[in-house]
Symmetry: C3
Subunit: 329 residues, 3 copies
């Protein structure tokens, strides 16, 4: 998948900037995956996926060639799927696949305000088990080892997801718990994220809703450290909740309007809240190619420093406009 | 494409060296490209291409996996082609595709004396538009954004190319202009390169000619800093012109002799001129595989420090011999 | 090929650790290779192979994308094969292909005690020539250039291998010689490794034997520097020999037990010997996929610090248990 376009960001301390950006709607990527039928409903599966920046050719993450996904496992029709490797969390899958009308991309990306940074999105050394689908209902569990000699808990992460998808309704309740200790350093807090996400397809409009609660140190890390160059840099909240209300309106079979309102409610004494309005338009040139425009605007309160980014970048200002093209191959 | 052989370099300050080198004729590379027909003469296109060193397995450029080309765009039969991403300049394409009988590779590479370093070859964040072909005539334009917050001009680059290809004649006139400022630092010069390149196929011999003018700071960066360990290191000229006269002589259907003479004329007071004589021989083992030998010798004047390199390396001495094999896949 | 599983290591100074590991049996990898028939029994061949860690998506080796193998060459039925690039040594091929019932992987890997570190396994800038096969007998030679300006011997490496494979018997005698000098630094020793490896298939059991001698500085580098945190770190022996006795016992057509005993005999005054017992079990789920368990235990003497690793990792303790799945694609 390749995705590139122009991004214009306004409102940052360093001034406005217009740039060619890769991965506005979905990060440009390239991968290999496969399935081998082992008989009796059992399959061996694997996936290796690299993220690249098509504007300058760089890897998303230095030296980590398959930074997006890398796993191998066994899949059974009756007993579920067990995979080992670098994988998405249930938390992020619920955000991108169910909660966000922008699919975690474009100026309106749910990642601008919700807690999707770092290990909240993907985690290495993860063991994931997913049950088979029972009438639309399935459960997933993740356990990622900390791999620190002398402690089994330092750095470990676990997650749980309850999924329901049937007819027009798609709903998920997910939980993610990170232990952020390092052996030999003082014990820290755990970070705990809970998210309920749902969408319902009314045909004339598809409605989206999400509510999340983020508790503990590193539960909601800031995408940008201090984009507005405040004297006092914004502080990542250790107790916040997040709300999203959104919609997709099909205009023709090939055109869709996307819109969302999000609010970050910081429950600490700093009360660094923010909200975002976003709108976008996507036109399908074919089943595999679409052109898009999107615009979003954030209002920060009490020294909050949230920025309008997109799927690939955190952004540098409180307003951004995107125009580009995305092509799957 | 994989290309490897032996290179023997003589005349450098550090002594002679014989080595296994990747990319003597054409840098070893691996890529993915595609086209999707969108109907009405419109196509979506993309390309991702990585450069690798087959002698030691390293990436050409640390962390930049698709350092050669990475772009996505739309192509229309009637309206031309628009692409976004990391792309070649018109300047370099004219050198490698039209001007040089060695195709910018082997010991005789045009890159040894002409201004092909860094962003003169490829540039990130580039928007390129090419017109359709009108009776052999076409025009290309490039604009690469500087992407520096607070300035739209700092770091931007643009280029323009007029191409004519019809029957035995192939000619190009190209212009490249780089702004080398950085926001917050003092304003610098722009670097401006103009090149006329042409070749004509007389059947018994294909004749090559090129003339370039390079003006401004960084307009003609040196491939090697100070390979001959002079007390006073060579200085990159800010006002120079370049000349090439060359030929390809087909011996049989599978064998060709390549030869060229190049001259760098430094018009500054330092007058660090250089000229190069080069000869090579290529034998096709199949349509996709060739074996080659090549030799070139540079004469540096007034403390100039040009070196004989090849497509991939800048070289370490004023003489070099290559022998190797190139295989496309 | 993707391979991932759980590894539990005990006995290291930093404490025990359980982790998700990539490449326990064979390092996870991805590659491109090809052959082009040039007629008259001649072919052009190439291979590019990258090693990746499927647990976290990282490249095996920073920036070296095709760190495993990268070469191009010519193969003739009558005259043998000549290849240029980054390639395996004859020494390592004899270890992994002939000597070790674990195939250099799992907890029992021959790499835990034998001299397989760094350039003993693969070397860049190598020219390899292999004769055709004469009634099961063939000879291979390797010469890797040091590529240091001013010296042809500094950093060069050469190797030689005599191979015999016919019916149930497979035997190799190999020699590897590394010059570890750097131009401008004092002259150092060369490192010299000789290895005899053989296996014989008695049907009910396949027997394995190997004996190696390692002489000179860097001839047998330590996989782990000081995993047991001794006051005096272990010293890499400059005069040692290595013994392996092993077996593979087929239980069913799809199941095999692997076992080996290895001994490192340090002939220096420090006398830092070690021996290892290892056992493993592999079950084929299909021709391309197998599940495995393995266990090994090392006994270190006189301050030796050898650790139980696997194909990809050096390990952190003197005992390790592996369980996982490997899938070729």
């Amino acid at each position: 998948l390749v995705d590139a376009g122009l991004v214009s960001e306004r409102g940052g301390a360093a001034g406005s900037v217009t740039k060619v950006t890769s991965g506005i709607g979905s990060q440009s990527r390239l991968g290999f995956k496969g399935t081998e039928d082992l008989g009796s409903g059992l399959s061996a599966i694997f996936q290796l996926e690299t993220g690249v920046k098509i504007d300058d050719g760089q890897l998303d993450s230095a030296n980590t060639i398959f930074n997006r996904q890398a796993y191998v496992g066994l899949k059974s029709k009756d007993a579920g799927t067990l995979t080992l490797g670098r994988q998405y969390t249930m938390l992020y899958n619920a955000m991108s696949q169910v909660a966000d009308p922008f699919g975690a991309g474009y100026a309106g990306s749910i990642k601008n305000l919700f807690a999707a940074k770092g290990a909240n999105t993907r985690t290495s050394n993860a063991i994931v088990y997913a049950t088979p689908n029972f009438d639309g209902f399935s459960v997933e569990g993740l356990y990622a080892l900390g791999e620190q000699a002398g402690s089994n808990s330092a750095g470990r992460q676990f997650g749980l997801g309850f999924n329901y998808a049937n007819g027009p309704l798609n709903a998920r309740l997910v939980y993610n718990n990170k232990n952020t200790d390092t052996v030999g350093k003082p014990t820290m807090d755990t970070s705990r994220n809970t998210l309920f996400a749902a969408n319902y397809d009314f045909q004339v409009v598809k409605a989206f809703f999400a509510y999340g609660a983020d508790k503990g140190l590193f539960s909601a890390e800031l995408p940008s450290a201090n984009a507005f160059a405040y004297k006092t840099a914004p502080v990542a909240s250790i107790d916040s909740n997040d709300l999203l209300i959104g919609a997709q309106v099909p205009v023709t079979a090939n055109d869709v309007i996307m819109a969302s309102y999000m609010r970050k409610n910081d429950k600490t004494v700093l009360n660094q809240d923010a909200d975002q309005w976003a709108i976008g338009y996507s036109h399908l040139l074919s089943k595999r190619t679409n052109a898009y425009v999107a615009y979003a605007k954030i209002k920060n309160k009490n020294g909050a420093g949230y920025t309008v980014g997109n799927n690939n970048e955190a952004g540098s200002g409180d307003k951004a406009f995107n125009i580009g093209i995305r092509h799957s191959f």
